[in-house]
């Protein structure tokens, strides 16, 4: 049973339950009311409504699971960084589970804080920026399947969103708009420079990222996550396309904006970058979204290069997927705490002069592999 069937079952059961009421009301009430309620029942039982509600429920479940993972990611982030930096990390809140509850406590604290909007800020942009940022990041999560049976699909056949990987990458690249909007509307020089840097950075790193993904699509012959993962049954793609894998990881770090490439929010020179003027839960949303994007990045790298949910069947597929994503994220963190921040011009040089040719080279390798008939 896959997620669609599970959700369809739930929705069907619910609709039946409620429809009993509608039809009984239609029987009891006079004709003009009765027809209305019967019509409502008919609409509720119709195929289009059922599948719509099923997909809605599916995406809610997927995003909830992803958000729980994001909490784990935040915990790993704080714990691993603490241990690498030689201190304990979260410790007291949720002592028995390693301080896991600390993130929830911080979230509650951020909710209780006052939201301050600068007087000269552009109110609409200032309000919209976090929404776009969070919304686009949640969009990525909704299309990433954890296994063949756990993903957003439109019918019971298990066919997931067509071009799901493309959709995820597209949603990934909405964020610069939000960042630029936040930087511009805050009416502050630091945020402005941060937003500009972010736009430049995201644009220059988007291209090698998508070229690397394109070579994967070329080998797999599909934009669909299930097909991509199925194509890696014999050999995971990071072996033939190791260059592409490394370039993809570097670009992901830049997209997620963690330390070697966290120039938009470089706290040493631009106080907090483009989030300087945001306080309270709006800042909390930005902070959480960074973790969401890290999760999405790890999941993308897992699905595209590390064989997705492929693995010995001792443990369920979903867990395999998550383990791989966690390992990718931990390596991110490890790299993050080992190197200093890079400078903006050096970073753009790295992006355009090194990573882009490497990505093109990787695409060529993929094309050779495909025409050679190995895949």
């Amino acid at each position: 049973m896959n997620l669609f069937e599970f959700c369809y079952g739930i929705i069907h059961w619910l609709v039946d339950l409620v429809n009993n009421l509608w039809y009984r009301l239609g029987d009891v009430l006079p004709w003009y009311f009765g027809d209305f309620f019967t019509g409502v029942g008919d609409f509720a039982a119709s195929d289009s409504h059922l599948s719509f509600m099923t997909i809605l429920l599916e995406s809610i479940i997927i995003i909830l699971v992803a958000l729980i993972n994001v909490l784990n990611f935040l915990w790993i982030f704080r714990k691993i960084s603490g241990r690498i930096l030689d201190f304990y990390g979260p410790y007291y809140v949720g002592y028995r589970i390693g301080g896991w509850l600390q993130n929830l406590a911080d979230g509650i604290k951020l909710f209780l804080k006052e939201i301050i909007v600068p007087t000269k800020a552009d109110k609409l942009g200032f309000f919209l920026a976090p929404i776009i940022f969070v919304g686009s990041s949640l969009l990525i999560l909704s299309v990433i399947p954890l296994s063949e049976n756990f993903g957003l699909s439109t019918n019971s056949s298990g066919e997931y969103v067509p071009a799901g990987a493309l959709f995820a990458l597209a949603a990934f690249s909405i964020a610069p708009f939000a960042i630029l909007l936040a930087g511009w509307s805050s009416n502050n020089k630091y945020t402005l420079i941060g937003g500009m840097r972010s736009a430049a950075q995201m644009m220059s790193y988007e291209i090698p990222l998508i070229l690397c993904a394109a070579s994967v699509f070329l080998l797999a012959g599909s934009f669909n996550f299930v097909d991509i993962v199925d194509a890696q049954r014999d050999i995971w793609f990071f072996v033939p396309m190791f260059i592409g894998f490394v370039v993809f990881l570097v670009c992901l770090i830049a997209e997620v904006e963690i330390v070697p490439f966290d120039l938009p929010e470089a706290e040493a020179e631009l106080v907090e970058g483009w989030t300087t003027e945001y306080g309270g839960m709006r800042f909390g949303l930005f902070y959480m979204t960074t973790a969401i994007r890290s999760y999405a990045g790890g999941a993308l790298a897992t699905a595209l290069f590390l064989g997705g949910w492929q693995g010995p069947s001792l443990i369920p597929d979903e867990i395999w997927f998550l383990i791989k994503a966690y390992i990718v994220y931990t390596v991110f963190m490890w790299l993050t705490w080992s190197v200093p921040r890079i400078r903006i011009d050096q970073m753009l040089g790295l992006g355009w002069r090194r990573l882009l040719p490497l990505a093109v080279l990787n695409l060529l390798i993929a094309a050779v592999l495909k025409t050679g008939g190995w895949f």
Binding site: F87, R341, I344
Partner: protein, 360 residues
């Protein structure tokens, strides 16, 4: 983008302390810079005029949070010069040893702040952790963690605590191990080198003209160290080299400080070995004669000078402090212009700012 002024300070992560660096940027490139200081002015020189000679020692400690020992030692040297007090040899060796420990602690704090500026948090915590070892050692020696109040006019406050030599030698051995490990984190890191090599070049002539002293000048190729060139205390009897570097960029400044830490370790070993037994303090006169006293030492940040005028009473008539950082800061606009905004952090971090002594 049009040119615009950006205030980096007085409340800014780049400024270690309270000061304001106004930079004019064209896009990300700096075209002008203008340091503003004075936010931390406490009038220490004036406060000292109202205190008796021994009472000034804890005030002199508070000139710089990074290396308070050097400043109280400098004050004691100055007052001894004024009063013609002969310091016992054991006290001199204890002072030299403690100053070199303080120099390591100060350089490690600089390294921590510098790594933090670069975004390398692990460098920050590692350097702070290793500084803690020396702070603990000095705490066991003097009784306080930051403001030691240990040197006195005519010696030091009390003798070495028991087992101090063993602890000190062990700490020095630990530090030498750590210094090798830092090479992995800093020198062997490509990104660290990218951020440092060729950034913030200070030419030797400019450095001498602007009065820059200390590691910043030695990194430009000038071998100028008061411990060698104008020895005070028992430095003539100790064998050490002056760390210099010819490049004059941020990496050279980093390298000079790291090499100085090696030298400090060797000086501590020698001082512990050569330390004689005997008295550690003599009674200092209460009233100073009506004359002047001058002290010059090599602070971790440069050349520190104190000048005191006595008028026959038990309070100084005037006390003047020459802060090395105040002078070095005047070179900042010269070395900032032409680099990127992100380099401000690296360059100013490389100068090792300490606002306590700067604003006094």
């Amino acid at each position: 983008m049009a040119e615009m002024w950006i205030n980096m300070g007085p409340q800014h992560p780049m400024t270690h302390g309270l000061w304001n660096l106004r930079v004019k940027v064209d896009g990300e490139t700096i075209v002008d810079a203008e340091p503003e200081v004075g936010y931390l002015h406490r009038g220490i020189e004036k406060i000292c005029e109202g205190l008796t000679y021994p009472q000034i020692i804890p005030i002199a400690d508070r000139l710089c949070y990074g290396s308070s020992f050097t400043w109280s030692h400098l004050y004691c040297l100055t007052a001894e010069d004024l009063m013609d007090v002969e310091v016992p040899e054991r006290a001199e060796y204890i002072r030299v040893m403690a100053i070199e420990m303080q120099r390591i602690a100060s350089h490690l704090m600089w390294l921590a702040a510098y790594a933090g500026d670069l975004g390398l948090s692990v460098g920050f915590t590692n350097a702070m952790r290793d500084r803690e070892v020396f702070i603990d050692l000095l705490q066991g020696l003097a009784g306080s963690r930051l403001t030691y109040n240990y040197p006195r006019i005519g010696g030091v406050a009390h003798d070495l605590p028991p087992n101090f030599e063993r602890d000190a030698l062990r700490t020095v051995r630990y530090m030498e191990q750590r210094l090798k490990e830092y090479e992995d984190l800093f020198d062997n890191s490509k990104i660290f080198m990218m951020r440092n090599v060729g950034i913030g070049i200070l030419r030797k002539e400019d450095g001498i003209d602007l009065g820059v002293t200390g590691p910043s000048l030695r990194a430009s190729g000038a071998s100028y160290d008061l411990r060698k060139d104008m020895p005070y205390s028992v430095y003539p009897e100790i064998d050490f080299n002056v760390a210099t570097h010819k490049d004059g960029d941020c990496y050279a400044r980093y390298r000079v400080r790291m090499d100085e830490m090696w030298e400090c370790c060797s000086i501590i070993r020698q001082a512990l070995k050569k330390m004689p037994k005997g008295k550690w303090r003599v009674v200092a006169p209460r009233n100073a004669p009506a004359s002047t006293g001058l002290g010059r030492v090599e602070d971790p940040r440069g050349e520190a000078v104190m000048y005191v005028v006595g008028d026959g009473s038990d309070k100084p008539y005037r006390l003047k402090i020459r802060s090395p950082i105040f002078v070095t800061l005047s070179a900042a606009p010269k070395i900032l212009v032409g680099y990127k905004l992100a380099d401000v952090v690296v360059i100013m971090g490389g100068l090792d700012m300490c606002l306590g002594e700067n604003d006094r």
